[in-house]
Amino acid sequence: MSLSASIALGRRKTGERPGSRRLRRAETLTGWAFVTPATVVIGLFGAAPIIWSLIMSFQQSDQLSSSTPFVGLHNYRQMVHDPAVTSAIWHTLIYTALFVPGTMVLGLFLAVAMNRKLRFMWVYRTAAYATMAISTISEALVFIWLFDPSYGIVNYVFSLLHIPQQQFLNSPSEALYVVVVMTIWGWSGFAVVIYLAALQGIPQDLTEAAAIDGAGRWTSFWRITMPLLSPASLFLAVWLTINALQLFDEVYLSTQGGPLGATTVLVYYLYQQAFENFNFGYASAIAYLLFIVILVVTAIQFRVGRRFTYYRS
């Protein structure tokens, strides 16, 4: 019915039929009626907390006592002078700078390796994606043991290769990198699926034409495959960056921000402030800082990415 109604409306731009306005209003109402439930839910559980935490970032609030004095920009000013925030930002940026390219390169490598007709390929593909399906807690537990300085397999392999024994999670200079390795492993499956889908969308005739023109496999990969994968790469870069800047689970489950704050990333610090120290106002201010960081980084990625992204259509 709505289809025929809109066709009717489209035909008669001038001199509308007397009933059509009523019909259009009814249609608008239907539209609203259908989106209202979702809008209410999103408003209640999405928008309201966002606005509320913005208000809270201007308050001194412990969420315990009912007094929440308005402190203006105090929380934001405190953030500027808090060395823990500075180092948390650093840890977050270092982590992101390693995690995002690491995951994309590993994901691309695995996807290219799996983009061929081999027996039991579905087994390899399932195995690759399984890293995504495994819960973070099991992942963290396994990595804790792999990287245990005394009993871990990694140090055992190192000893066989005559590489000096490492302290890993016990060392403030190494722990963050262990978290990077852990999360790259966990997210690589996701990158594989995205790249594999994109690779299968590349028309064979293009690579064949390149081969006829004398392009080797390497040239064809760089000149044909990579540009055609660029939309997938942009999507992964944006998606993984947003996730990296919000890193929490793996840190909470493995190092709890330690040793000596070496793995305290922004979200973990925010969590400590809110739920351990009951500084909800300060934590909300940090959350808004993070929001702005993510907004800026994503905007830059889209800006820069558009230049290098090739859309076939």
Binding site: A26, A33, T36, V40, L64, A175, Q256, G258, P259, L260
Partner: protein
């Protein structure tokens, strides 16, 4: 005709919206109807959950007309959820809350003061261990009743002691004996350590050290909780003791994740472990013994240890429900229920009279070998951690100090001074 169908669709969708909205607000309205119905938030799992449910069924039977509703909440998150429920105007009537939260819990306006309740002679308040009473009291106000008590003692591997031809730890042992034993129990070639320590820098790192601090005669803060007091000779002794094992002797397995140490001990790779009764059931592969904490000779502090009791806290949902919740709480914490619950679960008794009841300790030992040492060790709990709202921040500073020393990133004296300065800042309100 089309408009009618449209209207029907609009009505339908709007009705759905209303229903969704009502469902979101529904949880609070149900509880207000019956004044004899109370809501409890607890974090019991496994055996504890079964025993607790059985006890509640018994209570409802003996108190006709009273309905006790329980809701499982992971204890780690209960305060967060209580905060949300209080903000929404529908807190539970009774909640199981960690003792370390007490000073912050006291700030919640709907928390019911139990000071007069526990004064009733039938409660016999002094029958609870002093460590429990201290944690349930903020300032002069009692905000909860003991829900659980534990303490730290030394669990040791008897087989490893025999292999090293070492005498087993005795009740009069000292920290220098502990250190020497740890050194002798360490065999690097087979990756065997004398002892272990958790180093995430969390409160678990901190309270282990605080036991040493108290045993050395020190204090965490001064008597009116306005300044740091741990930067003392006792603090240095406590820190040096741990440093000797971690840095000098390499006899200490450091566990930065707080999750590996128990498995390592159960695999027979660690000689001695300072831990609580909750870990005992995780050591089926080890022939273990339990001994009280060592002492520092020359101090009067003896074999002091630390306890981390938890509280039952009552919230105000109107006089009649407060009364119903208090009645239930008094029943739950009475000697008979304490004895029943601990015998069935292996938890330590919250009342001294339970611990001293004839035959009780041997019955406990039958279920969990040597748990009686933890029970008698409750007598070595002489004080509680400072009941100040900023304790979580103070704990983070002390945690960082301990880890810095154990990882050999800082010397004990410098670490103590730096930490004390930071704690003083926090206490002055500028941290």
């Amino acid at each position: 005709m089309g408009t009618y169908r449209l209207r029907a669709a609009v009505c339908c969708a709007l009705a759905m919206t209303v229903v969704t909205g009502l469902a979101a607000c529904g949880s609070g309205s149900e509880a207000t109807g019956n004044s004899k119905s109370i809501q409890i938030w607890e974090g019991y799992t496994g055996v504890e959950a079964k025993v607790f449910a059985h006890m509640i069924a018994g209570y409802e039977k003996s108190h006709p007309g009273v309905k006790v509703n329980t809701l499982y909440v992971n204890s780690d998150n209960t305060l967060q959820k209580v905060q949300t429920a209080v903000a929404g105007g529908a807190p539970p009537d009774l909640a199981y809350l960690y003792g370390s939260w007490a000073p912050n819990v006291a700030k919640i306006s709907s928390v019911v003061t139990l000071t007069n309740l526990v004064k009733q002679s039938s409660v016999n308040w002094n029958d609870f261990w002093v460590g429990e009473r201290d944690v349930a009291t903020v300032g002069a106000r009692v905000i909860g009743m003991p829900a659980l008590v534990d303490n730290l003692a030394v669990v040791y591997n008897k087989t490893l002691f025999a292999k090293a031809h070492l005498p087993l730890p005795g009740p009069d042992w000292t920290w220098s004996q502990f250190t020497a034993d740890a050194k002798k129990l360490t065999i690097p070639s087979i990756k065997q350590f004398g002892t272990a320590y958790v180093t995430p820098g969390s409160e678990d790192t901190v309270w282990h050290w605080e036991a040493l601090l108290w045993a050395a005669g020190g204090q965490i803060l001064n008597s009116d909780n306005t300044k740091a007091a741990f930067d003392s000779t006792a603090g240095l002794t406590a820190l040096d003791t741990l440093r000797t094992m971690a840095v000098t002797d390499h006899s200490m397995y450091l566990d930065p994740t707080d999750s590996a140490y128990a498995n390592v001990f159960n695999s027979g790779k660690v000689g001695m472990l300072v831990t609580g009764p909750w870990d005992l059931s995780g050591f089926p592969n080890v022939k273990y013994g339990v001994q009280v904490m060592p002492s520092f000779p020359g101090t009067t502090a003896g074999h002091q240890t630390i306890s981390g009791p938890d509280n039952w806290v009552v919230f105000n949902n109107g006089a009649s429900r407060v009364k119903a919740a208090e009645d239930f709480l008094l029943w739950l914490t009475a000697p008979a229920q304490d004895k029943y619950f601990t015998l069935k679960t292996g938890n330590l008794p919250t009342r001294q009279s339970t611990a001293n009841a004839p035959g009780y300790q041997s019955e406990m030992n039958a279920a969990l070998p040597d748990v009686s040492t933890f029970i008698t060790n409750l007598g070595n709990v002489k004080q509680a951690r400072p009941q100040v709202a900023s304790y979580p921040q103070i704990s983070q500073v002390i945690g960082t100090m301990i880890v810095a020393v154990l990882l050999n990133k800082q010397q004990p004296k410098a670490a103590l001074d730096a930490a004390a300065a930071k704690v003083n800042q926090i206490l002055a309100g500028s941290g």
